[in-house]
Symmetry: C2
Subunit: 104 residues, 2 copies
DNA sequence: TGAACATATGATAATATATTCATATGAAAA
DNA sequence: TTTTCATATGAATATATTATCATATGTTCA
């Protein structure tokens, strides 16, 4: 019997559309935007990030995990610290595009 | 007396960071992504959009308003219909960047 | 004018999300 | 091996967001 046609919107499957929305969710919170933007100048540990963005450690840690899950940042341990850095070239572009929009 | 120093993160003010997050919120929902993506090929009325993305009229109308408030789309009335179209060149770029990310 | 069609809106309920607090884990230094 | 510093995590609360339902508004045409 014929399978029910899968929903697509001009080639994009439902799954991809949901993934796309999930990706943009990562940029849709000011704490996460601050973290990403803060990492524009390179690797930083959690304490540094907390100071830069003026948020407490737990909140930052939760958001770092979300960003890491979304593969927007990566981490490596260095002694007691964990160093975080951007893991995707598109991050800067996406944020820059956003900035251009709001600056109009 | 000295004013308390306003929070900025490398030149971006708190206000701008919030605006940036608000902008990306518009892309952070699959209904809105579908609408934007649907409008890639040009102007459409509400009924068409509803059919294309398979969502009911009220939900679509609510989201159209959000997108319009964010200045991502614009509208004009044509008889009984209201035609919507993209109102920002960055929209396509932002979504394309997102697609590239998830396709990796 | 009043049907019929197209779109918008307000209120509500369901769901998702973020921050905080308390505490756990992990690494280094005393 | 205990203390200290750095980070992660779970639970709970508070807040935000979305879809739905009912209905209102606006437009055309008979």
């Amino acid at each position: 019997m014929p399978k029910k046609k899968e929903y697509t919107l001009k080639g994009l499957r439902e799954r991809e559309l949901l993934d796309l929305a999930d990706l943009f969710k990562m940029f849709a919170d000011s704490t996460r935007i601050k973290i990403l933007y803060d990492l524009f100048d390179g690797e930083k540990n959690v304490t540094e990030i907390c100071e830069d963005i003026e948020m407490n450690q737990s909140a930052v840690s939760h958001q770092l995990r979300a960003l890491k899950t979304a593969k927007l940042i990566k981490s490596r341990r260095e002694g007691k610290s964990v160093m975080y850095s951007l893991d995707d070239d598109h991050v800067k572009t996406i944020i820059e595009m956003g900035k251009e929009h709001i600056e109009e």
